[in-house]
């Protein structure tokens, strides 16, 4: 599978393959030509991947092969024990969570979970939670607070599910309650956007002390498609909307919303998952170390100050 913007690379790669086949078949030496083309591929790759447009980053952020929450948990944490259910209605498979060990320290880890295949995506509702997902997350966070465990959240959702039953069961209230209750938790919270951070459905796992983003992840108040159709009255202007909305990791870092960026290999996290897991682990270590310096009783005040500063207005 490839993105449209990768086509020039793929064309070159196909040419190399053809040359190689031709050389073997006719027993002639084409190694010079092949090396030349391979160098050209490298140049092209760097050129394309270093200049990704915001829309191209959206495509990478949504890519089905991009690592998901459970893969991060598996790679970074030990002894993960998953817990299910919100205790009121059901278990939402679009959000996973439980307890684990991070470098020997007990933590609570929660995240949106997309499917890694179409079948699994259907089971997990494409990572779009219902109210019970948010209520499960909050239940696990309160549990973390009781046992004084830091909370690590992975954000990866198009948004909260816009469905009839979601509304009936109080989608708004579930998200809203998470925001207020997370504001008051007395344990450190680190949130990491690993894929798409879609609006309130993402923020419901994102009221935190440290927000980190993968370079090619996005975090936005509305999808570029939605913004294009509402603000520009033309859904096809999604690329312009993606740019105007300022949604990439770098944008959020520049706007001082993200506290740090996690490096990705050229072309996106799916090209080298172990690398990304290592980088992510390192930033969590660093974040927990910094937050450990804040006294427990000052943590909520520090979070309050962090959010009070956000906004751009005149008086």
């Amino acid at each position: 599978m490839a993105f449209d913007f990768e086509l020039p690379i793929i064309e070159l790669e196909e040419k190399v393959e053809e040359l190689k086949k031709y050389a073997t078949k006719n027993k002639i030496d084409l190694s010079k030509e092949i090396t030349f083309l391979e160098k050209k591929i490298d140049v092209k790759r760097t050129e394309i991947y270093s200049n990704l447009t915001p829309w191209q980053q959206v495509e990478i952020a949504r890519f089905i092969e991009r690592p998901t929450t459970l893969e991060y948990i598996d790679a970074i944490f030990d002894d993960f024990t998953e817990f299910f259910g919100d205790r009121y209605y059901g278990d939402d498979k679009a959000i996973v969570g439980g307890i684990a060990s991070f470098n020997g320290q007990p933590v609570t880890v929660i995240g949106h979970q997309r499917g890694m295949s179409t079948k699994e995506n259907i089971e997990r509702n494409f990572g779009m939670p219902h109210p019970e997902g948010y209520r499960k997350a909050l239940r696990l966070m309160k549990q973390a607070e009781k046992f004084n465990r830091p909370i690590i959240c992975f954000i990866d959702t198009k948004g909260a599910y816009p469905g009839k039953e979601a509304e009936e069961r109080g989608q708004s209230e579930a998200i809203a309650k998470n925001l207020v209750d997370m504001a008051g938790l007395s344990v450190p919270i680190i949130s990491i956007v690993i894929g798409e951070g879609g609006s309130g459905g993402a923020l419901a796992l994102g009221v935190c002390d440290k927000l980190y983003m993968l370079e090619n992840s996005t975090y936005s108040v509305i999808s570029p498609e939605g913004a294009a159709s509402i603000l520009f009255k033309d859904g096809s202007l999604k690329e312009i909307a993606a740019e105007s909305l300022k949604i990439t990791g770098q944008d959020l870092y520049d706007l001082e919303i993200a506290d740090g960026l996690i490096k990705e290999p050229l072309g996106g996290a799916h090209h080298d998952k172990p690398f990304v897991f290592n980088e992510t682990k390192a930033i969590i270590e660093q974040g927990l170390k910094e937050l450990a310096k804040i006294k427990k009783e000052d943590l909520v005040d520090a979070r309050f100050d962090k959010y009070m500063k956000i906004g751009d207005f005149v008086e």
Binding site: Y161, A166, G184, G200, V221, S244, L255, I310, V314, E315
Partner: protein, 288 residues
């Protein structure tokens, strides 16, 4: 999408002269769009724009609502100079906002005052849909957060009348973060043992519904108000079925256990006054 919900309020209630210039005079009669009955404008004002014939709730401005809430002469306006910038240089945002501000005679989509209701001190914030559909950007977030912080400091209850299409998309991620910003202010206010009444009015949707509108100690909603997270069209397209007519109305939410009460606007003041009095006694005996 939600634009059609707002047009009535944007229409001027005052008369135009033959050249189409606004005279500032209110017409003697107003027609109820629901039962089509001609009503005396003065009488309509007295009933806070509720049709005496069919109970239809006309849209009201933040000024009209605040006027009937506070005891006369007790209101101190707060944070009314705060207004939005254009942090992302979003095309046409400022010109549209300026036009709205002129029509609404407000600097932002929320108006805050500290005053008394039947002698009880209270901070009231009222959102106004005439400014960018009542959407929440940095300025609205700042005003609301300050309103809660002010109330926390002065140990006052807060009432927020919500009316909003959601987050202000033109401010991108900064508008989304205002949901968190207001929430941390609410948490501190709540933690101080103070009362917050969320009063949802037509329409309360998106990011506003999914933050401060839904987390009052008491959640009230105005009769007939549209309240919901996602838009009807989006839901219908997602689930590929037609939604019932009363979907996402205040009455629908009440039925589904999401609200404490649905209130007729004619009883708005007395309802709030009663709730405030019952809480204010609690504060008075505290420490006795």
């Amino acid at each position: 999408m939600v634009i059609d919900l707002f047009y009535k309020l944007n229409r001027k209630r005052t008369k135009l002269d033959k050249k189409g210039i606004d005279t500032g005079d209110k017409p003697i009669m107003t027609k109820c769009p629901s039962c089509k009955k001609m009503l005396y404008t003065k009488e309509l004002e007295k009933s806070v724009y509720v049709c005496p014939n069919c109970d239809y709730h006309f849209p009201v401005t933040s000024q009209e609502r605040m006027k009937v809430l506070f005891d006369e002469g007790t209101e101190i306006r707060l944070f009314d100079t705060i207004t939005s910038r254009n942090p992302l240089d979003f095309p046409n945002y400022m010109s549209k906002l300026e036009k709205d501000k002129e029509i609404a005679d407000l600097n932002e989509a929320v108006r805050v005052g500290h005053g008394k209701i039947d002698g009880v001190d209270v901070v009231i914030a009222t959102m106004d849909t005439r400014i960018r559909m009542g959407s929440m950007g940095s300025a609205v977030g700042e005003i609301l957060a300050r309103a809660f912080n002010y109330a926390t400091e002065k140990k006052l209850p807060v009432i927020v009348f919500t009316a909003s299409g959601g987050a202000r998309m033109q401010e991108g991620i900064l508008s989304l973060m205002q949901m968190a910003k207001v929430s941390v202010a609410i948490e501190r206010h709540s933690n101080a043992g103070l009362l917050y009444i969320a009063y949802m009015t037509h329409p309360t949707t998106g990011g506003v519904s999914a933050s401060f509108a839904s987390v009052g100690d008491i959640n009230l909603a105005e009769k007939g108000a549209l309240i919901g997270f996602a838009g009807r069209r989006v839901i219908e397209e997602t689930i590929r079925e037609k939604l019932p007519d009363d979907f996402q109305t205040a009455e629908f939410l009440l039925e589904h256990g999401q609200l404490d009460r649905v209130v007729n606007r004619k009883e708005m003041r007395i309802t709030l006054s009663n709730i405030l009095k019952l809480h204010c006694n609690g504060v008075k005996v505290d420490g006795v």
